[in-house]
């Protein structure tokens, strides 16, 4: 009797799950959500669509997750909060999440990294065995967050091997972790353990920091006015040119190589210590093919980054903090020669903590993997 009842309920659930009109309604609601625009445009319609979508319950999850693949950042936040609300309310009501659908979505790497991570987190809440099952296959995952968790598992294994102690096995595990690790804290932990194990690691190469530069400066930046001035290097770099700089000094490009493990270029040393000054750094890299690139920069100074003569990123802020990957410019490397020009402006603050005039720049993909470059 009970088994027949369960069978009927299961059939009803299946029918509801695959109700074509429900699916069509979900699609309509998702399209309304995706129409949100800048300055709150479409918010009122989206709020109604959001409630409608959430009321559809867990059958709407796969479509809502899929919709994240090609949504604007605004629409993505509407959709992700709807996914959260659906999943949260489903579990609170004691109903199951569609774990098979979620896992299939996660394993399909054509789906976006954000949406796969979102699906993964809800799958893990419903199925505690999911991390052990999925993470070992995620060491090279295109989702930085999934990859990070996979690396964490291997780092924990490496630590256990080190504590045994089984140094060869630990070293092998740390090598496996390094091959996958892209986040600075994880890479730093591996480098620290490698140092104790007597293994050398080139962090600058691992992260893809540009280390060979030509520097020119100082140009004027009194009162911060130099940031907006297009000095001659911005009109095209000629490494043999002679420029007129701050105080009418004659400026020439000079080679500069940084040995800093995180690619930091110190203009106070590479040019000389100046305040109210603008410096330029120029590098040429050879790409094996045309490929998308993220130019990731960190600096305490106001900066502009030009890729192949075009402004790729600018940020005018002084001495409020510096971090690796602080600013990210997305662009394309052309096959062969590519020119990178960085403008670094120093202001006139007198505090000790405001004396740095420096930057770091790396070329990587969206996961943070160093772009393979040809030898110059």
């Amino acid at each position: 009797m009970h088994s027949r009842l369960y069978a009927i309920i299961a059939a009803l659930v299946v029918c509801l799950s695959f109700n074509p009109s429900a699916g069509a309604e979900v699609d309509v609601l998702i399209e309304r959500l995706k129409k949100v625009g800048r300055e709150g445009g479409g918010n009122s319609n989206a709020a109604k669509a959001w409630q409608g979508l959430v009321q559809q319950g867990s059958p709407a999850l796969p479509a809502a997750l899929k919709a994240l693949n090609d949504s604007t950042p605004e629409a993505s936040n509407w959709l992700r909060s709807a996914v959260d609300a659906i999943a949260e309310r489903t579990l609170a009501a004691g109903r199951p999440l569609p774990t098979r659908d979620l896992e299939a979505f996660i394993l399909d790497k054509t789906n976006g990294p954000h949406s796969r991570r979102l699906a993964y987190e809800w799958l893990c809440r419903a199925d505690k065995t999911a991390p052990d099952r999925l993470l070992p296959g995620m060491m090279q995952d295109p989702s930085p967050e999934l990859r990070r968790d996979a690396v964490t598992v291997v780092l924990n294994q490496a630590k256990q091997l080190l504590d045994k102690p089984d140094k060869p096995a630990a070293t092998a595990a740390y090598r496996q972790a390094l091959a996958a690790a892209r986040d600075k804290d994880q890479v730093d932990e591996i480098a620290k353990q490698f140092k104790a194990l007597g293994v050398t690691v080139d962090l600058a190469v691992h992260f893809g920091f540009v280390q060979q530069w030509h520097l020119a400066g100082p140009f004027e930046n009194s009162d911060g006015k130099g940031f907006a001035v297009m000095y001659p290097p911005e009109q095209g770099v000629n490494l043999t040119a002679v420029y007129k700089g701050k105080k009418d000094d004659e400026l020439r490009w000079k080679e500069h190589a940084t040995a800093d493990p995180y690619g930091m270029v110190d203009l106070n040393k590479g040019i000389a210590k100046h305040m109210g000054a603008t410096g330029y750094a120029f590098a040429v890299v050879q790409s094996v093919a045309e490929q998308p690139v993220e130019v990731r920069v960190g600096s305490n100074n106001a900066i502009k980054v030009f890729l192949n003569g075009k402004l790729a990123y600018q940020h005018e802020e002084y001495h409020h903090g510096n971090a690796m990957d602080q600013y990210i410019a997305k662009g394309t490397l052309q096959a062969g020669r590519n020119e990178i020009l960085v403008k670094v402006c120093q202001n006139e603050q007198k505090e000790e903590w405001a004396q740095s005039w420096s930057f770091q720049l790396r070329l990587c993909d969206s996961v943070g993997t160093a772009i393979p470059l040809k030898k110059p």
Partner: protein, 418 residues
Amino acid sequence: MIRSILAGIAPILLTLATTVDIAYSGQRAQGPGPKKAWPQFRGPNGTGVSADTGLPTTWSTTENVAWKAELPGRGVSCPVVANGRVYLTASSGFRQDRLHVLCFETTSGIKLWERQFWATGLTQCHPKTAMAAPTPVTDGDRVFALFATGDVVGLDRDGNLLWYRSLARDYPPISNNVGMAASPVLWRGTLFLPMENAGASFALALDKHTGQNRWKVDRQRGINWVTPLVIENGDSATLVFQTKAEATAYDAETGRKVWEYEAGLSEVSTPNLGENGAVFVAGGDFVALKPTAKDAVPEVLWKSNKLRMAYTSAVIHQGRAYAVNNAGILQCADAKTGEALWQLRLKGPFWASPLIAEGRLYITNEEGLTSVVQLSNDPAILATNALGEPVTATPAIAEGRFFLRTDKHLWCVGEKKP
């Protein structure tokens, strides 16, 4: 047919909605506010004063703790409380790009819902702070959360998303590599956002129902952490925004500048409203201002270089001004004259601002130690209560209890309730 019915009742619904807004903000303006609500940064109208009674004076990790809830991320934002719910924000992820809005039941500490958003602005900040730094604000039925990334959301009390804005995409560049932390405030149907930063700086008024702009005015460029002050005056209100160089009042309805006071002011401490209508602004001097005619420079009632503070804000209560300085000295002055009355050494340093309830001043230091001071002409430290976790957020007081956000938990300190 349905359309015509809707068209007929729309004005009534609109009137009702407006009436509800007026009713709520009216309560806020009449002093400490409704007993059960702590709706924004530093409580009712940002006063730092609670009318609650029955608050504990002693607690520890095991004594007088009603409940404790784990948090999914970091934050220096403060809890806000209304209608049996406590709302809080947090941020998480290696890049601090996961933004959380959380809702707990006040009686049990059960998490009722959590919504997450992906950051659309820059996430770099000083290690002391986080992307969940601005305190959310609630009107009792809805909660509005601004993050240091420029993402701002409106949610109803059940966690339904009402609207979302990415200010970093609407008005680039928005940046403060130290980390933005000024909190939004509400007046009637409008949410006000202080967006002074190293990039495009502005004050923004949003329709709280839709998140769409009501007005936007340019503000002085520069990083800043001051939460604006709402001064209600009958059917109108002014908003006082403050940076290190000026305090400017804007008409809440239109964004028109009403008055401006230029001086070296604090870029952290929020302005206060005195019981006699004076506006107190902190900085090199603590200044009592009396706004006079519109478009005029306010009259300076008094200045004092004795009331100094670093990262905290002052409290004005029953004719006295209280402030704690960087060395942990609690200072008290006459709010009418600025005359220094007494001072008391406490154990700092402090990031959280002092609060006053039942004639006692409560202030929590960065180690999570709360000093309880009996206020009088002869003040006394009644107790020092440790929670053993770092605290940078100002606690909330509601329903006769404290809600303290430590580094990893939300604590409810007070009697357990069924």
